[in-house]
């Protein structure tokens, strides 16, 4: 029973309202995702797709739920409302966001971030792990209950499966990385951190076919292990490799239609006109 309940996680987003600089972007988006499902959120530029991704993780630039008439906003993961929690607490609860254009952070190596966040996610609340930032101490430290060598092997294994140059792991994260490398590093983090729900924001843009295949493989792997997936995309390119269970069309901050994988095909053929008019 216990195992079953941990596999069957549920994420319920209800009445998500968000605005930036007094301009309302999302007008009350609701969505329910279960573990192992793949949901695609499609929509034209400016429809609020990336806002949805940022707001789920609690980006501080967005004001949420100013509009009371939309009802009570909730983000409930396995019965726990994350809505008023800071970003790191949402991450620790099991949310993950793969950024569309992740920012570079000089000096914070990929391996260091993986180690620190893995430690935070699987060992305490994150405040317990300051020493792992120290490269000297880190060598002797267990990471999230895993001996450091095993952890490195785990990371190395995923890196190879993504066909990632392992020297990137020792560089500042996204610092001078190519577009494809950035997407793969985002995917690598998703694989290592084993979230309950992962949001992929435009993971397919700017990828060559090989990288697209690697990233799709990653999504399939997560799906198989019971992770609920939200793929945010403009085109249905990645959906050729990962078949979604549900497709939601987001237009002007509202979900205007929900359907099956066939809906994505329809968008490919005739665009968003039908929904924007």
């Amino acid at each position: 029973m216990k195992q079953k309940s941990s596999k069957m996680s549920t994420l319920v987003i209800s009445h998500l309202v968000a605005s930036i600089e007094e301009k309302e972007i999302l007008h009350g988006v609701s969505l329910t995702v279960r573990g192992g499902e793949v949901h695609a959120i499609m929509g034209p530029n400016g429809s609020g797709k990336s806002t949805l991704a940022s707001v789920l993780l609690g980006h501080p630039a967005y004001a949420v739920n100013r509009n009371q008439k939309a009802g009570n906003t909730k983000i409930i993961l396995d019965g726990k409302n994350l809505f008023s929690l800071p970003t790191e607490k949402r991450a620790l609860a099991g949310l993950f966001l793969a950024f569309q254009s992740p920012i570079a952070i000089q000096g914070v190596t990929v391996m260091n971030l993986l180690r620190t966040s893995y430690q935070a996610r699987f060992h305490g609340d994150g405040s317990q792990a300051p020493s792992v930032q120290n490269p000297v101490l880190a060598r002797r430290t267990l990471v999230g209950g895993l001996p450091i060598a095993d952890f490195m092997a785990l990371v190395g294994d995923y890196a190879r499966r993504l066909n990632l140059d392992e020297s990137l792991l020792r560089r500042g994260i996204h610092d001078g990385f190519s577009g494809g490398e950035k997407k793969k590093i985002e995917m690598l983090q998703a694989l290592v951190l084993r979230p309950k729900f992962a949001v992929f924001d435009e993971i397919d843009t700017g990828l060559d076919v090989d990288a697209l295949k690697a990233v799709s493989m990653g999504i399939s792997l997560l799906r198989k292990s019971g992770v609920g997936i939200i793929i945010i995309t403009h085109y249905q390119r990645i959906l050729k490799y990962v078949k979604p269970d549900y497709v939601h069309i987001l237009v002007s901050g509202n979900v205007v239609k929900t359907g099956s994988a066939a809906l994505a095909k329809k968008i490919e053929d005739s665009g968003y006109k039908e929904f924007t008019g």
């Binding site: 991450a91 920012i103 971030l113 620190t116 935070a120 994150g126 120290n134 101490l137």
Partner: protein, 464 residues
């Protein structure tokens, strides 16, 4: 929000009862200088050197540049204090409260780990030292400066004040007149000291000036790494630390001098450090400045011989009410000399860092190369960083590079890191540690660990 006085945050700010054998009167007079010299039983030439320095000190004005020093109350300072009757070489012979102080900063622990000798300074005087037999077998001398003067008067007399003359600056003159303690290191020709020589010292008496004098002579083809780390307890009023470090790097020798300074935040730390580097010699300064109210420190390399090399790696962290005015100087006198100055500074909580540096290439220093990189990281809007680079290039065929960057921690960076489950404080700390990592990795292991820990302590409460 947090209106605690700055020293209240200082983790190592415990204070032990003072225990003296001899304490000079407040302020600096000829009598004090004579007393100090007589008390130490010094030769006449040193006493005369001190007296000359005293008169130079009186005539020199405070520097008109750099940090604000007007609040130093020179007349309130005790210039010499001797805490115990004799130096001890056994840990158990130390007075209990001194031992307790060391316990609290982990000296016995450190001693087990420290692989070469430990020379710990407590209140102006080296009271505890243990030098491994291997050093003396190789002919390496590692003593406190007072013992160095007694046991090796000729060497000391030959080099003392030749690298930093008495009249170099006001604080060098002050140090020369009242110096006490510090280290004397002599490495014979061709000898490599494999393990770092470590001096760990702290000061404890309120209002006490601390004026160590260090002299390192590395003969031809030798190598030595000297490490000093300091943590200081709380003072009731402003305190002055003004050391002088002179290093002679002979032909083909290499000296590395590592400092981690973490004075409590009411200390004025005004230090003159300089090395003379002969043909094909190498001098490396690794300098970390975390504590103090005001630091003015610019380790210098005087590249005198062909192919001499000098390097300065400097880290400065200025928190609330702190001003770190640090940097380095490289003076090229000979052809094919190379220098590199890399400075990383961090300011938070309204603190201020300044990079101040000089690269001077004299005529004839053909094909000299110099590279200066100074990077500043500013953690909040109240903090400040400035850069004062000076270049004097009097030779045509040279290669000089200068890079400077100023960066801030952005909201998007913090969002990115927190989205991976680390707290905002941890995220800041990761960015800061990443920023200084290129220098931290040059530190001996214990100091790398300590450096990261001290940076974290510094950052506590600075995240808004």
């Amino acid at each position: 929000m947090n209106t605690q006085p700055p020293v209240g945050n200082y983790k190592y700010g415990f204070h032990k009862p003072e225990h003296y054998v001899f304490k000079s009167e407040r302020g600096l007079t000829e009598d004090v200088v004579r007393q100090v010299s007589a008390h130490k039983g010094e030769p006449d030439w040193m006493r005369d050197r001190r007296l000359t320095a005293l008169s130079v000190y009186g005539k020199k004005p405070l520097p008109l540049w750099g940090a604000d020093l007007t609040a130093i109350k020179f007349d309130d300072i005790y210039y010499y204090i001797k805490p115990t009757k004799d130096k001890v070489s056994d840990w158990k012979d130390l007075p209990p409260e001194i031992r307790d102080t060391y316990d609290r900063i982990g000296i016995p622990e450190a001693e087990k780990k420290f692989l070469a000798g430990v020379s710990a300074q407590y209140e102006s005087e080296v009271v505890y030292k243990s030098i491994q037999d291997t050093l003396s077998k190789k002919g390496v001398v590692f003593l406190d400066m007072d013992s160095g003067l007694k046991e090796y008067p000729d060497i000391v007399r030959q080099y003392f004040g030749t690298i930093i003359p008495t009249g170099d600056n006001k604080f060098a003159a002050l140090n020369t007149s009242v110096w006490s303690g510090g280290s004397f290191v002599y490495v014979p020709k061709g000898v490599h000291v494999d393990l770092p020589l470590q001096a760990y010292f702290r000061i404890n008496a309120a209002n006490m000036g601390q004026f160590e004098r260090t002299l390192i002579v590395a003969e031809e083809g030798s190598f030595v790494h000297y490490v000093e780390g300091c943590t200081a307890p709380i003072y009731t009023t402003d305190s002055l630390h003004s050391a002088v470090v002179e290093i002679i790097v002979k032909k083909g020798a290499r000296v590395r001098y590592t400092t981690i300074q973490n004075w409590s935040t009411n200390v004025y730390n005004l230090v003159t450090k300089r090395a003379r580097v002969e043909e094909e010699g190498t001098m490396e300064w690794v300098d970390g400045n975390l504590g103090s109210k005001v630091t003015m420190k610019y380790p210098s390399v005087y590249l005198m011989g062909r192919k001499a090399r000098g390097e300065v790696l400097s880290i400065a962290y200025a928190g609330a009410h702190q001003h770190q005015d640090a940097g380095g100087k490289a003076i090229h006198f000979a052809p094919e000399t190379t220098s590199q100055i890399i400075s990383k500074s961090i300011s938070s909580g309204g603190g201020r860092t300044s990079y101040r540096g000089l690269v001077h290439v004299y005529p004839g220093a053909k094909n000299a190369k110099s590279k200066v990189v100074c990077d500043a990281l500013i953690l909040d809007e109240r903090s400040r960083s400035d850069t004062y680079p000076t270049m004097k290039i009097d030779e045509q065929n040279v290669q000089i590079e200068h890079e400077a960057t100023v960066s801030k921690i952005g909201d998007e960076q913090l969002f990115y890191l927190t989205s991976r489950g680390v707290t905002k404080e941890q995220a800041q700390s990761m960015i800061v540690n990443g920023f200084i990592e290129p220098i931290v990795k040059e530190l001996p292991l214990e100091y790398a660990v300590e450096m990261n820990r001290l940076i974290e302590l510094q950052m506590e409460g600075s995240v808004g």
